[in-house]
């Protein structure tokens, strides 16, 4: 792999997009919220709960139910997106819900619901991973008991180079591989893993290694954001 390879936006292969920004409390009305921006991709997450379950029959006597809705707003993409859920958003919502259920301590909140709303404001690839990164932050911001945060990013192959955090132009390259990934740093459990594209196992090994390193960088930023907002509580 050539070290000199420079990407269409000037990044090195192992670099996250610039800016990579995390902001907490972006929806003051919600119990917790966060915004994640990776280059031109912007996602907001907000949490309501633990709250009463409606409809009541969905209630679980032993734990909270986690409900996640991922949505792209109509002008988040070049061609206006038809409002409302579609198959892609249903799948992504479920995958994010599954990933989060590994860290949220649902047994602490029996007979309640925790709702997580994820809105893609601007899409330039990597919206599901930005959404998952934002979701775990919004949950933490809501003060919900969690075992860890979940950092998430994608890695892949563009024009024969293994790269981190693909933008849309890179993702659309013929022969590109895109591998959305998330893991729990404290346990090394992989909680999101998908891939599109044609790859050898050796390449996949390199790609997930790069994705993991990217997650480690994002994890540091997540912790920093939490400490900045809540540091004074943590010290007490």
């Amino acid at each position: 792999m050539s070290r000199k390879f420079i990407r269409n936006d000037g990044r090195k292969p192992e670099e996250l997009r610039r800016p990579y920004k995390i902001k907490l409390g972006v929806v003051p009305r919600a119990n917790g919220s966060a915004l994640v921006q990776s280059g031109k991709t912007i996602v907001m997450a907000a949490v309501y709960g633990p709250k009463k379950v409606i409809p009541k029959h969905l209630e679980d006597q032993e734990k909270a139910i986690l409900r996640c809705r991922y949505n792209m707003i109509t002008f988040s993409v070049k061609d206006r997106k038809k409002p409302g859920p579609d198959k892609r958003s249903a799948e992504i919502s479920k995958l994010i819900e599954n990933a989060l259920s590994n860290v949220v301590m649902l047994e602490e909140y029996p007979r309640t619901a925790i709702d997580i709303y994820l809105e893609v404001i601007q899409a330039d690839a990597g919206t599901r991973v930005a959404a998952l990164t934002a979701a775990s932050l919004a949950l933490a911001d809501a003060g919900i008991a969690m075992k860890d945060l979940i950092p998430s990013t994608a890695a892949g192959r563009v024009n024969g180079h293994i790269v981190l955090d693909l933008n849309k132009e890179e993702e659309d390259v013929e022969d590109a591989i895109d591998l959305p990934f998330a893991y729990i740093p404290s346990t090394k459990e992989v909680v999101l893993l998908q891939m599109d594209g044609i790859a050898d196992i050796e390449e996949i090994e390199e790609i997930i290694e790069m994705a993991k390193k990217g997650c480690d960088k994002i994890y540091e930023m997540q912790i920093k954001a939490i400490k900045e907002k809540y540091g004074s509580y943590l010290e007490e």
Partner: protein
Amino acid sequence: MITHTAMEFIKKKLCEGERLDDRKLKEYREIVIERGVGENAEGSARVKIGQTEVIAGIKMQVGEPFKDTPNEGILITSAEFMPFSSSEVEPGPPTVDEIELGRVIDRGIREGKVIDLEKLCIVEGEKVWTIFVDIYLVNDDGNMYDASSLAVMNALMDVKIPKLDENYEIIEGEFNGKLPIRHKVVSLTAYKVGNVIFYDPNAKEEEVVDARLTAGIRDDGKIVSLQKGMEGSFKYDEIIPTLRELKERGLEFIGKYVQ
């Protein structure tokens, strides 16, 4: 539904490397493939893995291409659990489980470039073939992902393309060759419970599964899609060894079941 006690028992057995039906952890049940199960479909297949049964059918229609791919045919995949396939299914609009199954199988076919979609262009920018791939779960005794993938690949290979008249209407009963298939792909799944990775669960075993990992394996040994499904996780260090196993099994299955 099975009882909590039964679940604990099945889980304990699996974690000790044993299964209810005495199979080994990596052993599949008998697989039976049959093509041509619906006369009105352009192609179809039935796959049984043990008592799990899936039928897949292909319908072809002349339609308009997408604006960004004016010279390519269109592939649309969906999956439905028949209401009698298990006691858990309620009739109604597609559930997220049905959507996920359809999308995972679709990704294997699409990303693996199984069909040469450019050869399904009739008039550039105006008329192309739309291929509807429909998956029906008939009886759910576990591992519907692998059964669906084998059914779809066999149904695609069973397709006879209808002949068109000068107005691009389908001529009943006349055909114009097979689908332009470039590669064969099967999507196979590894299942995890506790610290054990195993294959081909039956419905009872599936109740205790924590996570699954499905990979699309192409006839040239490439991996063309991945999906970690369900709530649980795979350890970071388990991913690559699992992919190697899936690849080996995938190539074996393509040779055995997709001819």
